[in-house]
Point group: C2
Chain length 205, copies 2
DNA sequence: TCTACAAACGGACAATTGTCCGCTTTTCAT
DNA sequence: ATGAAAAGCGGACAATTGTCCGTTTGTAGA
């Protein structure tokens, strides 16, 4: 007798909420819009809103995910067509895409970890767009690891090399945490171009 | 007729608040204690609490500042006695102190940017303890900059070299954002020692 | 010592977040 | 079709943050 597993109309509400939030965030600003207001605009109750997105950060993350699709496509295209370049140069190229994106969308990215109670500070690092870039970057760094071979059998040594590359990629991306980039611009007075060039000096050679 | 400029009893209340917060945070946990509760325990009103510390993050920052004093002393001592070592090795040493500290006190450090409305995401980067470490680290990287001379006249070239060193130091420290370190441990399963060694590979050679 | 003034206080209040629970709607076996 | 069970809804409610303003209190000049 355990039959109804999922209701087909529930997804529609989540779509409405996302749409409403996107519009309101664009019209005003992320922090000027309350969750109550979003629910009202979407024409749903508070409960429905919070069931779809547990807090404002999740909403921002969902929108950022949509917004990132374009950049991710460009990045994939770049990687497909830059096979001939040395890995360090490719890393520099990736950096440009990432920094451009963060610089552009930081208003949306910052609130992702503006969580109140949940203590979910690493939400940003677990978002699909972060994982995607992390993975691509790890692949580049792996090429630079001594002893690493693509598609090699899964030995302990290969796994160790991948793990080292993955840590490097994470450290790089972690320093590109939106808050850090904002500080470089506002607090240190660097331009986007200067930021890219400093990153390349450190990470792409 | 403009006479009373500052009241000597006001500082006492701030001290009481800090003390109460410290005790409550230790007893329960940072997020389990409400601002109201802190005010009550300290025996002051909400208004007084918020006049001293505009939000929970500031309170955490103030406590972290106190807690950091020890580590900072150790670090200064280390730098005083390690003059003979090459700069890269000294950077590695500094990294150990920093990572140890963050790993130890992240519960206090995380909420510093858990701000609700203020949109003050770079509070962490402006805290005195951050500035201190940043400054020391910049000095080490400056030594590695081609063309940099200590106590040289203030030419454009010298300033440029210092600025490059300062950006590198910030990038390093920015990736040591508590949230990022927590993720390396929880999300990636690295130990403190592994984290230190990965950082040294990237930043201290 | 007295007095006037502004700094500082404190608690009531507004705003916002996030939860809870009774009600409605979809689903599916009969 | 139909009815029962669970998925989903929504808005009232609790909790928490942060503000505001009438009142208190220390300070300094007289």
């Amino acid at each position: 007798m355990i039959k109804p597993r999922k209701r087909s109309d529930a997804a529609e509400n989540c779509r409405l909420i996302l749409q409403a939030a996107k519009r309101l965030f664009a019209e005003k600003s992320v922090q000027a819009v309350s969750m109550h207001q979003i629910a009202q605009t979407a024409g749903v109750g508070q409960g429905t809103l919070y069931r779809c997105y547990a807090h404002k950060g999740e909403l921002c993350a969902a929108i950022a995910e949509q917004v990132a699709v374009d950049t991710i496509k460009q990045l994939e295209n770049y990687l497909d067509t830059s096979g001939g370049l040395p890995a360090t140069e490719r890393i520099g190229g990736i950096l440009q895409y990432i920094i451009q994106f963060i610089d552009d969308k930081f208003q949306l990215l910052l609130p992702i970890h503006t969580v109140h109670d949940c203590e979910d500070e690493s939400a940003y690092f677990r978002s699909p767009m972060y994982r995607f870039v992390w993975d691509k970057l790890t692949a580049q760094y792996a090429e630079l690891e001594p002893g690493y071979v693509q598609n090699a059998p899964d030995t302990a040594e290969q796994r160790e090399a991948w793990s080292r590359a993955s840590a490097k990629a994470h450290i790089l991306l972690s320093s590109l945490h939106p808050a850090g980039v904002v500080f470089m611009r506002e607090g240190m007075g660097l331009t986007k171009e200067q930021i890219v060039s400093r990153y390349c000096e450190l990470f792409a050679r």
